[in-house]
Each structure stands twice: as structure tokens, then as C-alpha cells.
């Protein structure tokens, strides 16, 4: 792991206009609202947060599967938003994605061979025969075999499909992989298989991951640094162990404390947040977390908190730490 940033995100915003049908005005959802972070080469960068806080949107805009509303995304130093469709297409070799839903992310009409060789073909890598060899190689790496080449996705279980999805992302030998909740849809026992696979691949190919999840247990296990998102904003970012042992933001604290215990005898001091996550279409003023925050102050209701950085790279956006 080096400290060289492979990806840098600056002031990224993504707003969606949502039509509300004939009867209502359109509303604007601030799915991602001004976030900045960087990812170092070879590390696993985690993004956690509750449903709808903008994790997937972040992941998708980083790969320009969605055009950002504002902000820069620097991949290896150059802003990918400025690239033409074709240039971007070629750059995609280096940045890949693993999707959440193993059932929806593979084309049901294609065989595994077609699915796995396609990335190589469209980037004009290798000859036809070599591509198939490569596909077999990668299949074996993810724990399947050439025996599966001619099969269709529906003939596989969820865990196997997720392996194929991962294989498809890895076959191009990319530098960055955005994994959007790659294990959330999987059963407990299969989850651990896939996590192991991701860890092993990272080792083998020196991959950089952006790992999106809402499962804090998994995030704690495999990430190096974690960003906690709340309503489209990053409220806290730190090295994983530090975040879990010394969370600073009240939301992070609550989030960590909400995780169920591991053993019936474990006693846990629980911060139960009141209320639900507000809608990103209509976020509260000031600090967006203030309506649910136990240590809410007057200023929190009025002013957006600044991002405070500490020496060890720990950053937090909270008025509690302004002094």
C-alpha cells in the first residue's frame, strides 16, 4: 500500500430531479451533496451509511455511470469528467465495478464465456483463443471452472453469480474496483466466501477497492479507511480501526452502537437514535443530522458544520469539534 492517491474526488455533487407525476411539482434530490475524499493505491476505502444516503450514487458517479452535477473526479491525476465518451470508454479498463445484485448484474441471455470475454474483446485485448484461456484462468481464480463456460447465469446460485461478477470486473486487470454492496444480497455463509475472494484478489493483483456497504461488521473487517455518509454528505472519515474504536461524530457513534451484539452475554451501551433518516429531497437546515442528534446545539440548527481535520487524517464534520 502506498500513499499515492489513485483517485481524488473534489466537491462532488449529484442532484436528481424527480418527476412527481402530473399532480406535483418536481423535486430535487440531493443524493450526493459536496463530498471530497481521496483513495490511495492499494487500499480498501469503505463507504458506510444508511439506506438512501448516497453511497451508490457516489460509486456510480465516480465511474461516470451517472454524470455528476458538479465536482471533479481525478483518476490518476486527470479529471475524467472532461473525457469524451470514447476516451472514457477506453479508460474504463482501469476502473471497474462490482454490483450489489448478483441476479440483475449479469445478462441472462449470455453465457459465462460471452460475459467474461466481452470486456477483453471490447478493449481489443488478446486474440480470440487467448481470451477464452484468460476467461478460464479467471474462472478458476474465483473458484469456478472451465466446466461452467457455456452456462447461463440463471444456472448459478447467488454466490456463484457474484463470483462471476467479480471475475468480470477483475479480468481486465483494473486498478480500481468500486464494489457496491457486493455481499449484502448474499446469505451469511456465502457472504464470507465472497469476502474472502475479494481479499485474496486484492492481494494477488494489488487492487484498490472502494467498498460500499451498510454492514459495519464487514466494513470493519476488510477496509483500511472508512467514510461515513449521512444524507449525501461525508460526516466522518478515518482509518477503520480508529473510526470503530474512537468515533467522533454523534452519528457514527450511534451507528456503531446500533450494531447488534455478538454474543448474548455481551453488554452494550446503546445510543438509540430517534426518528428516521430525513428525505434527501428535503434535508434539514444547518447540520443535517441535528434533528436526531443527542448533543445538538443551537448552532447545529443554523449552520452547516465545517469539516475538521486532525493530524492522523481523521476528519469529522461536526460543530462539537469546532474549537
Amino acid at each position: 500500500m502506498s500513499n499515492e492517491a489513485i483517485l481524488e474526488v473534489r466537491g462532488l455533487k449529484k442532484f436528481y430531479d424527480i418527476e412527481q407525476g402530473w399532480f406535483k411539482d418536481n423535486i430535487q434530490v440531493k443524493a450526493v451533496d459536496d463530498i471530497s475524499f481521496h483513495v490511495n493505491k492499494g487500499e480498501t476505502f469503505g463507504i458506510v451509511g444508511e439506506s438512501g444516503c448516497g453511497k451508490s450514487t457516489t460509486g456510480r458517479t465516480i465511474l461516470r455511470l451517472d454524470e455528476p452535477t458538479e465536482g471533479q473526479i481525478l483518476f490518476e491525476g486527470s479529471d475524467i469528467n472532461l473525457l469524451s465518451y470514447e476516451k472514457m470508454r477506453r479508460l474504463r479498463r482501469k476502473m471497474q465495478m462490482v454490483f450489489q445484485d448478483p441476479y440483475a448484474s449479469l445478462n441472462p441471455k449470455k453465457t459465462i464465456k460471452q460475459i467474461l470475454t466481452e470486456p477483453l474483446r471490447v478493449h481489443q485485448l488478446y486474440s480470440k483463443k487467448e481470451r477464452i484461456e484468460k476467461a478460464i484462468e479467471i474462472l478458476e481464480i474465483v473458484g469456478l471452472s472451465s466446466y461452467h463456460l457455456e452456462r447461463y447465469p440463471h444456472e448459478f446460485s447467488g454466490g456463484q453469480r457474484q463470483r462471476i461478477g467479480i471475475a468480470k470486473a477483475v479480468i481486465l486487470n483494473p486498478e480500481l474496483i468500486v464494489a457496491d454492496e457486493p455481499v449484502s444480497a448474499l446469505d451469511v455463509s456465502v457472504q464470507s466466501q465472497v469476502i474472502n475472494l475479494l481479499l485474496q484478489l486484492q492481494d494477488k493483483f494489488n487492487l484498490t477497492y472502494i467498498f460500499i456497504s451498510h454492514d459495519l461488521g464487514v466494513v470493519r473487517h476488510i477496509t483500511d479507511r472508512v467514510a461515513v455518509m449521512y444524507l449525501g454528505k461525508i460526516v466522518e472519515l478515518a482509518e477503520t480501526e480508529q473510526l470503530f474504536t474512537e468515533p467522533m461524530h454523534p452519528y457514527t457513534k450511534a451507528l456503531i452502537s446500533a450494531v447488534p451484539i455478538n454474543h448474548p452475554d455481551e453488554k452494550k451501551e446503546r445510543i438509540v437514535l430517534s426518528g428516521d433518516v430525513p428525505s434527501p429531497a428535503n434535508p434539514p437546515n444547518g447540520c443535517t443530522f441535528h434533528p436526531r442528534c443527542a448533543s445538538c446545539m443551537d448552532i447545529c440548527k443554523r449552520e452547516k458544520p465545517p469539516v475538521i481535520s486532525f493530524d492522523d487524517g481523521h476528519t469529522v464534520a461536526c460543530h462539537l469539534y469546532t474549537n
Partner: protein, 305 residues
């Protein structure tokens, strides 16, 4: 709401405008009505004169512009045949058409929805098979044939009912049945399939888990959900009944808009055709508009607060 009405009105205007434009050019392509309205022995110069009088000698775009300008004021010209105002001729047939359409619609709703609901509830039973069988058959029978058969039995063989024309309520019976038959089949099938859908939903299970009796689940909880798509279908069909009942109107000599349009097409009576198209497009749009509102009414998710 106001905004909604404005938006819809604009959309309606656009649709009507495009429809009229398309039909205008189509009709002009179809040839010259002058020859049909003059006696066969009319000499050429009189034909030319007639065309000039009707303005058919002008370039097409001029005719079109003129047509639009007048159409905006509700003036579709005079019927080439009767020299009456085209729009009023069309409007004169509207009551007959409405009468038939609403009778048929009412009849089909009354019959179809209970059939559909029970069919869905008792799916794959004997009852359901009969219901489905009848609806499948109903959709396969072309309305003109059904009309002919009804005439054959009720008018020709048994002399029970008049075979055509307007007037008494008895004249309405056969055309109403003919027109309703198809809608019954469609509605019943559609109700059944949406009902089957709805019955699979989690919230139906919730209702059952609360101990709600099945009939109440069906006719209260499930029906209201099914109504949302059904309303759309009913609106669509009402549009068809109002504008597209040509065949039934022709078979039963029913003096409605559909038959008028058909005759005018045959006669190349362009102003009437255009006025008729205008009327149908307007009615269609209004019905869809009403359907949208009804849709919102049963579907609280899009209702304005």
C-alpha cells in the same frame, strides 16, 4: 392542480393539432372530392369551378393554413354534401353515440368486474375456467359478426327485436349487447389478471392475517388496488366506444358519430371527416384526462395533499 390542468390542456392541444394535421394531409392525398359531388355529366370547367370554389385548387399549404385558422374558431367548413356546418353535423350525432357507449360501458362494467374478481379468487376451478373460457371467446368474436348473428336470431328468425335504426329503447338492445360483448371480455380478463396480481401482494396477506373475511378482502382491499389499472382500461375503452364504434353503428344503422364518419369517408366529405376526427380526439383526450384524475383519486400515492 391548476398546473396539472394547464399541462394536460397543452398536451391535449398538441395531440389534437397533430391529429388534425395528419388527417388533413391524408385526406388531401386521397383525391379530389369534387368529382363525387358533381353529377357524372358535369363538364370539366364546372369541376374546375367547383374545386376553385372549395379552394381545392390552391397550394396545399395554403389550404392547410386556412383550414387551421378556421378550425381554431371551431369552423371546419361546410359539409360538401349537405352544406351544413360540419361540426354541428357531427355534434348532432353525438347524443346517439353517447347513449350507446354509456349503455354498453355500464353493462360491461356491471357484468365484467364481478366475473373477473370471482374468477381470480377461484382461480383454476371449474368456475374460473368457464369465466376465462367465455372471456377468451368474447375477445375472439369480431363485433360485426356478433352483430350479424344477433340480427339473424333476434330479428330475422324470431322477429323479437328491430334489426337496426334508432328510436326506441328496443333499438338499443342489440347494438348495446354487441358493443358490450367485447368490453365485457376485456374487462373481465383484465380484472382477473390484475386481481390475481393484487391477491399475491404482501398487504393482502396482512389483511388476511388480521382475520378479515375473504369476501371483504376481495371486494374491499383487493378491488380498490385493482381499480387503478382497471380505470385506465375503462377509460381507453370508453374512448373506443365513443369514437370507434363504427362497425356496430354501421351494422345496426345506429345514427351515431362512427357511422357518420364512415359515410363521410366513403363520400369524401372532408369537412365532416375532419370535424369528426376533431371530436373524437377531443373526447379521447378528455376521457384520458378524467381517467388520470380518477386514477389519482383511487391512488393516494399521487394525490395532491
Amino acid at each position: 392542480m391548476v398546473e396539472f390542468i394547464i399541462k394536460r390542456t397543452i398536451q391535449m392541444i398538441v395531440v389534437i393539432f397533430l391529429a388534425l394535421t395528419a388527417v388533413f394531409f391524408l385526406l388531401r392525398l386521397s383525391g379530389d372530392p369534387a368529382t363525387l359531388f358533381l353529377p357524372p355529366d358535369a363538364p370539366k370547367d364546372q369541376i374546375a369551378q367547383y374545386r376553385e370554389m372549395l379552394g381545392f385548387d390552391r397550394p396545399l399549404y395554403v389550404q392547410y393554413g386556412d383550414f387551421l385558422l378556421k378550425a381554431i374558431q371551431g369552423d371546419f367548413g361546410e359539409s360538401l354534401r349537405s352544406h351544413e356546418d360540419a361540426l354541428s353535423v357531427v355534434l348532432g350525432r353525438v347524443p346517439a353515440t353517447f347513449q350507446l357507449a354509456f349503455a354498453a360501458l355500464g353493462l360491461s362494467i356491471l357484468i365484467a368486474i364481478p366475473i373477473g374478481i370471482l374468477s381470480a379468487y377461484k382461480r383454476n376451478t371449474f368456475y374460473d375456467r368457464i369465466g376465462v373460457g367465455l372471456t377468451v371467446l368474447g375477445q375472439a368474436i369480431p363485433s360485426f359478426w356478433l352483430g350479424l348473428l344477433l340480427i339473424f336470431f333476434f330479428a330475422a328468425v324470431f322477429h323479437l327485436l328491430p334489426s337496426g335504426g334508432g328510436g326506441t329503447i328496443y333499438h338499443m338492445i342489440l347494438p348495446t349487447i354487441t358493443l358490450a360483448a367485447y368490453s365485457v371480455a376485456r374487462f373481465a380478463r383484465f380484472t382477473r389478471s390484475t386481481m390475481l396480481d393484487v391477491l399475491k401482494k404482501d398487504y393482502i396477506r396482512t389483511a388476511k392475517a388480521s382475520g378479515v373475511p375473504m369476501m371483504r378482502v376481495l371486494f374491499k382491499y383487493a378491488l380498490k388496488n385493482s381499480l387503478i389499472p382497471i380505470i385506465t382500461l375503462v377509460a381507453l375503452d370508453l374512448g373506443v366506444l365513443l369514437g370507434g364504434a363504427v362497425i356496430t353503428e354501421v351494422v345496426f344503422s345506429w345514427p351515431g358519430v362512427g357511422r357518420l364518419l364512415m359515410q363521410s369517408l366513403l363520400n369524401r366529405d372532408f369537412p365532416i371527416v375532419l370535424a369528426g376526427v376533431f371530436f373524437i380526439a377531443v373526447v379521447y383526450s378528455i376521457i384520458n384526462f378524467i381517467a388520470d384524475i380518477a386514477y389519482a383519486y383511487v391512488n393516494p400515492q399521487i394525490r395532491v395533499k
